[in-house]
Protein backbone atom coordinates (compact mmCIF):
# COMPACT_ATOMS: atom_id res chain seq x y z
CA UNK A 1 0.00 0.00 0.00
CA UNK A 2 1.52 3.29 -1.08
CA UNK A 3 2.01 5.91 1.61
CA UNK A 4 0.56 9.27 0.67
CA UNK A 5 3.09 12.10 0.35
CA UNK A 6 3.56 14.36 3.35
CA UNK A 7 1.59 17.51 2.81
CA UNK A 8 1.97 20.69 4.80
CA UNK A 9 -1.82 20.96 4.96
CA UNK A 10 -2.28 17.52 6.54
CA UNK A 11 -3.51 17.80 10.09
CA UNK A 12 -0.99 16.60 12.69
CA UNK A 13 -1.16 12.99 13.73
CA UNK A 14 -3.14 11.93 10.68
CA UNK A 15 -0.83 8.99 10.01
CA UNK A 16 -0.63 7.79 13.58
CA UNK A 17 -2.50 4.79 14.90
CA UNK A 18 -5.82 5.74 16.52
CA UNK A 19 -5.96 5.92 20.31
CA UNK A 20 -8.38 5.98 23.21
CA UNK A 21 -9.09 9.66 22.67
CA UNK A 22 -10.22 8.98 19.11
CA UNK A 23 -12.69 6.47 20.50
CA UNK A 24 -14.00 9.07 22.94
CA UNK A 25 -14.41 11.63 20.20
CA UNK A 26 -16.18 9.26 17.85
CA UNK A 27 -18.52 8.15 20.57
CA UNK A 28 -19.28 11.81 21.20
CA UNK A 29 -19.96 12.28 17.49
CA UNK A 30 -22.45 9.38 17.53
CA UNK A 31 -24.20 10.89 20.54
CA UNK A 32 -24.43 14.29 18.87
CA UNK A 33 -25.87 12.88 15.63
CA UNK A 34 -28.24 10.69 17.63
CA UNK A 35 -29.58 13.81 19.26
CA UNK A 36 -29.73 15.93 16.11
CA UNK A 37 -31.13 13.32 13.72
CA UNK A 38 -32.28 10.11 15.40
CA UNK A 39 -33.80 7.32 13.36
CA UNK A 40 -37.54 6.87 14.00
CA UNK A 41 -38.20 4.70 17.03
CA UNK A 42 -40.19 2.23 14.93
CA UNK A 43 -37.52 1.70 12.26
CA UNK A 44 -35.79 -1.39 13.66
CA UNK A 45 -39.10 -3.10 14.42
CA UNK A 46 -40.49 -2.27 11.02
CA UNK A 47 -37.45 -3.78 9.29
CA UNK A 48 -37.50 -6.89 11.45
CA UNK A 49 -41.17 -7.32 10.72
CA UNK A 50 -40.62 -6.95 6.99
CA UNK A 51 -37.91 -9.62 7.11
CA UNK A 52 -40.14 -12.10 8.86
CA UNK A 53 -41.59 -13.69 5.75
CA UNK A 54 -42.84 -17.23 6.17
CA UNK A 55 -40.79 -19.02 3.55
CA UNK A 56 -39.80 -18.89 -0.09
CA UNK A 57 -43.02 -20.55 -1.25
CA UNK A 58 -45.32 -17.96 0.24
CA UNK A 59 -46.75 -15.58 -2.30
CA UNK A 60 -46.62 -11.95 -1.25
CA UNK A 61 -49.80 -10.15 -2.22
CA UNK A 62 -49.65 -6.68 -3.65
CA UNK A 63 -51.34 -3.66 -2.18
CA UNK A 64 -53.83 -2.69 -4.88
CA UNK A 65 -55.91 -0.01 -3.27
CA UNK A 66 -56.32 1.79 0.00
CA UNK A 67 -59.02 4.29 0.76
CA UNK A 68 -61.50 5.72 3.17
CA UNK A 69 -65.27 5.28 3.17
CA UNK A 70 -67.86 7.04 5.24
CA UNK A 71 -69.52 4.41 7.40
CA UNK A 72 -73.19 3.99 8.08
CA UNK A 73 -72.93 5.13 11.66
CA UNK A 74 -72.67 8.87 11.47
CA UNK A 75 -69.13 10.14 11.21
CA UNK A 76 -67.40 6.77 11.59
CA UNK A 77 -64.99 6.03 8.81
CA UNK A 78 -64.15 2.66 7.41
CA UNK A 79 -60.73 2.25 5.93
CA UNK A 80 -60.60 -0.22 3.11
CA UNK A 81 -57.50 -1.94 1.80
CA UNK A 82 -57.37 -4.36 -1.14
CA UNK A 83 -54.58 -6.81 -1.81
CA UNK A 84 -54.23 -8.96 -4.90
CA UNK A 85 -52.22 -11.95 -6.03
CA UNK A 86 -52.15 -14.68 -8.64
CA UNK A 87 -55.15 -16.57 -7.32
CA UNK A 88 -56.92 -14.52 -4.73
CA UNK A 89 -57.95 -10.97 -3.93
CA UNK A 90 -58.40 -9.91 -0.33
CA UNK A 91 -60.32 -6.87 0.75
CA UNK A 92 -60.46 -5.72 4.32
CA UNK A 93 -62.54 -3.01 5.94
CA UNK A 94 -61.06 -1.54 9.09
CA UNK A 95 -63.13 0.14 11.78
CA UNK A 96 -62.24 1.37 15.21
CA UNK A 97 -63.75 -0.27 18.24
CA UNK A 98 -64.74 1.81 21.24
CA UNK A 99 -61.84 0.37 23.24
CA UNK A 100 -59.21 1.52 20.76
CA UNK A 101 -58.77 -1.83 19.04
CA UNK A 102 -59.75 -2.45 15.44
CA UNK A 103 -62.33 -4.64 13.76
CA UNK A 104 -61.36 -6.15 10.43
CA UNK A 105 -64.05 -7.38 8.03
CA UNK A 106 -62.57 -9.38 5.20
CA UNK A 107 -63.68 -10.68 1.83
CA UNK A 108 -61.77 -13.15 -0.31
CA UNK A 109 -62.40 -13.59 -3.99
CA UNK A 110 -62.86 -16.07 -5.47
CA UNK A 111 -64.66 -17.38 -2.38
CA UNK A 112 -62.87 -20.19 -0.68
CA UNK A 113 -62.03 -21.56 2.72
CA UNK A 114 -58.88 -20.09 4.12
CA UNK A 115 -57.31 -20.04 7.54
CA UNK A 116 -56.65 -16.38 8.18
CA UNK A 117 -53.86 -15.43 10.53
CA UNK A 118 -53.42 -11.89 11.77
CA UNK A 119 -49.82 -11.24 12.76
CA UNK A 120 -48.52 -8.23 14.62
CA UNK A 121 -45.23 -8.04 16.48
CA UNK A 122 -46.49 -9.75 19.61
CA UNK A 123 -49.97 -10.93 18.64
CA UNK A 124 -51.19 -13.77 16.47
CA UNK A 125 -54.91 -14.24 16.00
CA UNK A 126 -56.56 -16.76 13.69
CA UNK A 127 -59.94 -17.19 12.13
CA UNK A 128 -61.41 -18.96 9.15
CA UNK A 129 -63.27 -17.63 6.14
CA UNK A 130 -66.76 -18.98 5.43
CA UNK A 131 -68.07 -20.43 2.18
CA UNK A 132 -68.63 -16.93 0.83
CA UNK A 133 -65.03 -15.99 1.50
CA UNK A 134 -65.90 -13.68 4.39
CA UNK A 135 -64.09 -13.46 7.69
CA UNK A 136 -64.04 -11.22 10.72
CA UNK A 137 -61.32 -10.35 13.18
CA UNK A 138 -63.25 -8.55 15.86
CA UNK A 139 -60.50 -7.10 18.04
CA UNK A 140 -56.98 -6.59 16.82
CA UNK A 141 -54.42 -4.03 17.92
CA UNK A 142 -53.45 -1.01 15.89
CA UNK A 143 -49.97 -0.85 14.45
CA UNK A 144 -47.97 -2.79 11.90
CA UNK A 145 -49.49 -6.13 10.93
CA UNK A 146 -50.01 -8.53 8.09
CA UNK A 147 -52.41 -11.32 7.19
CA UNK A 148 -51.27 -14.81 6.28
CA UNK A 149 -53.84 -16.92 4.47
CA UNK A 150 -53.69 -20.69 4.03
CA UNK A 151 -56.07 -22.43 1.71
CA UNK A 152 -57.36 -25.72 3.09
CA UNK A 153 -59.70 -28.45 1.96
CA UNK A 154 -57.83 -29.11 -1.27
CA UNK A 155 -56.00 -32.40 -1.00
CA UNK A 156 -52.34 -32.10 -1.86
CA UNK A 157 -52.42 -28.34 -2.23
CA UNK A 158 -51.43 -25.90 0.45
CA UNK A 159 -51.37 -22.42 -0.89
CA UNK A 160 -50.06 -19.76 1.45
CA UNK A 161 -50.29 -16.08 0.70
CA UNK A 162 -49.32 -13.15 2.83
CA UNK A 163 -50.09 -9.47 2.64
CA UNK A 164 -47.23 -7.03 3.02
CA UNK A 165 -47.09 -5.53 6.47
CA UNK A 166 -49.20 -2.41 6.70
CA UNK A 167 -49.93 0.04 9.45
CA UNK A 168 -53.45 -0.33 10.74
Amino acid sequence: MAVAAVNAADPPGWNDPPDELDEQILYGVSEVWSEVDPPPAFLVDQVRFALDVEDADTEMLQLLEAGQLVGTRGNDQTRRITFGGDEVTVMIGIESNVDGTLRLDGWLAPAGCYDVEFRASDVVTTTRSDDDGRFVLGRVPTGFARLVLRRFGQPGVTKVVTTPSVEL
Binding site: L21, Q24, V44
Partner: protein, 203 residues
Amino acid sequence: MSIPESSAKVRGPERRERVAAALLAARGGDRHALDELVKDLTPMLWHVARSQGLDREDSVDVVQGTWLALVSSIATIRDPSALVGWLVTTTRRRAWRVAAAHRAELPAATEDLDVRADPDPAVDDRVLADEQRTRLWEVIATLPPLCQQLIRIVAFADRPDYDAISHALDMPRGSIGPTRGRCLAKLRQLLGVDQEGGWQWQR
Protein backbone atom coordinates in the same frame (compact mmCIF):
# COMPACT_ATOMS: atom_id res chain seq x y z
CA MET B 1 -10.15 7.39 31.14
CA SER B 2 -12.37 4.65 29.78
CA ILE B 3 -15.24 4.39 27.39
CA PRO B 4 -18.57 4.62 29.22
CA GLU B 5 -20.26 1.27 29.51
CA SER B 6 -23.25 2.28 27.42
CA SER B 7 -20.99 3.12 24.51
CA ALA B 8 -19.27 -0.29 24.61
CA LYS B 9 -22.62 -1.71 23.64
CA VAL B 10 -22.99 0.48 20.56
CA ARG B 11 -19.38 0.47 19.34
CA GLY B 12 -16.23 -1.42 20.21
CA PRO B 13 -14.93 -4.97 20.45
CA GLU B 14 -18.00 -6.22 22.33
CA ARG B 15 -20.37 -5.00 19.64
CA ARG B 16 -18.16 -6.28 16.86
CA GLU B 17 -18.04 -9.78 18.36
CA ARG B 18 -21.78 -9.74 18.53
CA VAL B 19 -22.02 -8.75 14.88
CA ALA B 20 -19.53 -11.43 13.85
CA ALA B 21 -21.44 -14.14 15.71
CA ALA B 22 -24.78 -12.91 14.39
CA LEU B 23 -23.50 -12.85 10.82
CA LEU B 24 -22.32 -16.44 11.06
CA ALA B 25 -25.65 -17.57 12.48
CA ALA B 26 -27.66 -15.51 10.00
CA ARG B 27 -25.78 -17.09 7.11
CA GLY B 28 -26.92 -20.41 8.53
CA GLY B 29 -30.55 -19.26 8.30
CA ASP B 30 -31.02 -18.09 11.88
CA ARG B 31 -33.68 -15.37 11.61
CA HIS B 32 -33.20 -14.21 15.15
CA ALA B 33 -29.55 -13.54 14.36
CA LEU B 34 -30.62 -11.45 11.40
CA ASP B 35 -32.80 -9.39 13.75
CA GLU B 36 -29.72 -8.84 15.90
CA LEU B 37 -27.81 -7.44 12.93
CA VAL B 38 -30.73 -5.18 12.09
CA LYS B 39 -30.72 -3.80 15.62
CA ASP B 40 -26.96 -3.23 15.73
CA LEU B 41 -26.39 -1.78 12.29
CA THR B 42 -29.58 0.12 11.40
CA PRO B 43 -28.48 3.38 13.10
CA MET B 44 -25.37 3.48 10.92
CA LEU B 45 -27.45 2.92 7.78
CA TRP B 46 -29.92 5.60 8.81
CA HIS B 47 -27.09 8.10 8.83
CA VAL B 48 -25.80 6.86 5.49
CA ALA B 49 -29.21 7.45 3.90
CA ARG B 50 -29.73 10.83 5.56
CA SER B 51 -26.25 12.04 4.68
CA GLN B 52 -27.12 11.42 1.02
CA GLY B 53 -29.82 14.07 1.35
CA LEU B 54 -32.94 11.94 1.70
CA ASP B 55 -35.87 12.96 3.84
CA ARG B 56 -36.99 10.79 6.74
CA GLU B 57 -39.63 8.81 4.89
CA ASP B 58 -37.34 7.96 1.99
CA SER B 59 -34.56 7.07 4.41
CA VAL B 60 -36.83 4.57 6.15
CA ASP B 61 -37.69 2.97 2.79
CA VAL B 62 -34.08 2.82 1.68
CA VAL B 63 -32.86 1.27 4.92
CA GLN B 64 -35.67 -1.29 4.89
CA GLY B 65 -34.95 -2.11 1.25
CA THR B 66 -31.27 -2.63 2.00
CA TRP B 67 -32.02 -5.16 4.73
CA LEU B 68 -34.50 -6.99 2.51
CA ALA B 69 -31.88 -7.13 -0.24
CA LEU B 70 -29.35 -8.53 2.21
CA VAL B 71 -31.37 -11.71 2.67
CA SER B 72 -30.55 -12.94 -0.82
CA SER B 73 -26.91 -11.83 -0.69
CA ILE B 74 -25.90 -12.83 2.81
CA ALA B 75 -24.55 -16.23 1.76
CA THR B 76 -21.69 -14.47 -0.06
CA ILE B 77 -20.71 -12.17 2.81
CA ARG B 78 -17.90 -13.68 4.81
CA ASP B 79 -17.06 -11.30 7.62
CA PRO B 80 -18.28 -8.19 9.48
CA SER B 81 -16.20 -5.77 7.42
CA ALA B 82 -17.56 -7.20 4.21
CA LEU B 83 -21.06 -6.95 5.69
CA VAL B 84 -20.62 -3.32 6.72
CA GLY B 85 -19.11 -2.46 3.35
CA TRP B 86 -21.99 -4.16 1.52
CA LEU B 87 -24.63 -2.48 3.68
CA VAL B 88 -23.14 1.00 3.29
CA THR B 89 -22.63 0.61 -0.46
CA THR B 90 -26.13 -0.73 -0.99
CA THR B 91 -27.75 1.97 1.13
CA ARG B 92 -25.83 4.67 -0.67
CA ARG B 93 -26.78 3.36 -4.11
CA ARG B 94 -30.43 3.03 -3.20
CA ALA B 95 -30.36 6.54 -1.78
CA TRP B 96 -28.94 7.89 -5.03
CA ARG B 97 -31.63 6.15 -7.07
CA VAL B 98 -34.33 7.68 -4.90
CA ALA B 99 -32.75 11.13 -5.07
CA ALA B 100 -32.40 10.83 -8.86
CA ALA B 101 -36.04 9.76 -9.19
CA HIS B 102 -37.13 12.83 -7.23
CA ARG B 103 -35.08 15.12 -9.42
CA ALA B 104 -36.63 13.55 -12.50
CA GLU B 105 -40.09 14.26 -11.13
CA LEU B 106 -39.54 17.96 -10.57
CA PRO B 107 -40.51 20.17 -13.51
CA ALA B 108 -37.67 22.51 -14.45
CA ALA B 109 -39.53 25.60 -13.25
CA THR B 110 -39.63 24.45 -9.64
CA GLU B 111 -36.07 23.21 -9.46
CA ASP B 112 -35.10 25.93 -7.07
CA LEU B 113 -37.74 25.02 -4.51
CA ASP B 114 -36.76 22.71 -1.76
CA VAL B 115 -39.87 20.57 -1.82
CA ARG B 116 -38.54 17.84 0.40
CA ALA B 117 -40.09 17.41 3.76
CA ASP B 118 -37.78 17.27 6.76
CA PRO B 119 -34.44 17.16 4.94
CA ASP B 120 -31.32 16.15 6.78
CA PRO B 121 -30.68 18.80 9.41
CA ALA B 122 -27.87 20.92 8.10
CA VAL B 123 -25.18 21.73 10.56
CA ASP B 124 -26.44 24.96 11.96
CA ASP B 125 -26.44 27.02 15.11
CA ARG B 126 -28.34 24.93 17.50
CA VAL B 127 -28.05 24.28 21.18
CA LEU B 128 -27.81 20.65 22.18
CA ALA B 129 -28.41 18.88 25.47
CA ASP B 130 -25.25 20.21 27.04
CA GLU B 131 -22.31 22.46 26.34
CA GLN B 132 -19.97 19.72 25.26
CA ARG B 133 -22.44 18.46 22.67
CA THR B 134 -23.12 21.95 21.39
CA ARG B 135 -19.40 22.59 21.07
CA LEU B 136 -18.77 19.31 19.26
CA TRP B 137 -21.66 20.07 16.89
CA GLU B 138 -20.16 23.49 16.11
CA VAL B 139 -16.82 21.88 15.35
CA ILE B 140 -18.41 19.20 13.16
CA ALA B 141 -19.97 22.05 11.17
CA THR B 142 -16.52 23.31 10.20
CA LEU B 143 -15.31 19.98 8.81
CA PRO B 144 -15.09 19.67 5.05
CA PRO B 145 -18.38 18.06 3.87
CA LEU B 146 -16.89 14.71 2.86
CA CYS B 147 -15.09 14.38 6.18
CA GLN B 148 -18.28 15.37 7.95
CA GLN B 149 -20.13 12.57 6.20
CA LEU B 150 -17.40 10.00 6.81
CA ILE B 151 -17.03 10.83 10.49
CA ARG B 152 -20.79 10.75 10.92
CA ILE B 153 -20.96 7.19 9.61
CA VAL B 154 -17.84 5.69 11.19
CA ALA B 155 -19.06 7.06 14.53
CA PHE B 156 -21.69 4.30 14.39
CA ALA B 157 -19.26 1.59 13.28
CA ASP B 158 -16.26 -0.21 14.70
CA ARG B 159 -12.64 0.45 13.94
CA PRO B 160 -11.92 -2.71 11.92
CA ASP B 161 -14.68 -1.62 9.53
CA TYR B 162 -13.43 1.93 8.84
CA ASP B 163 -11.53 0.86 5.74
CA ALA B 164 -14.59 -0.85 4.28
CA ILE B 165 -16.72 2.22 5.01
CA SER B 166 -14.20 4.61 3.55
CA HIS B 167 -14.09 2.50 0.41
CA ALA B 168 -17.89 2.25 0.26
CA LEU B 169 -18.09 6.05 0.41
CA ASP B 170 -15.38 6.53 -2.23
CA MET B 171 -13.27 8.51 0.19
CA PRO B 172 -9.68 9.34 -0.80
CA ARG B 173 -7.02 7.08 0.65
CA GLY B 174 -5.83 8.40 3.98
CA SER B 175 -9.22 9.80 5.02
CA ILE B 176 -9.53 7.10 7.66
CA GLY B 177 -8.29 3.59 8.04
CA PRO B 178 -5.77 1.66 9.99
CA THR B 179 -4.23 5.00 10.91
CA ARG B 180 -6.22 7.87 12.34
CA GLY B 181 -6.62 9.46 8.93
CA ARG B 182 -7.01 13.05 7.86
CA CYS B 183 -10.66 13.48 8.76
CA LEU B 184 -10.37 12.38 12.35
CA ALA B 185 -7.07 14.19 12.77
CA LYS B 186 -8.74 17.34 11.46
CA LEU B 187 -11.58 16.96 13.92
CA ARG B 188 -9.10 16.58 16.76
CA GLN B 189 -7.25 19.64 15.59
CA LEU B 190 -10.43 21.71 15.43
CA LEU B 191 -11.49 20.48 18.85
CA GLY B 192 -8.14 21.66 20.15
CA VAL B 193 -7.41 18.46 22.04
CA ASP B 194 -4.29 16.47 22.52
CA GLN B 195 -3.48 13.35 24.49
CA GLU B 196 -2.27 15.27 27.54
CA GLY B 197 -5.40 17.41 27.50
CA GLY B 198 -7.46 14.37 28.43
CA TRP B 199 -10.64 15.38 26.63
CA GLN B 200 -13.36 13.09 27.80
CA TRP B 201 -16.91 12.65 26.66
CA GLN B 202 -19.22 13.52 29.51
CA ARG B 203 -22.22 11.26 29.68
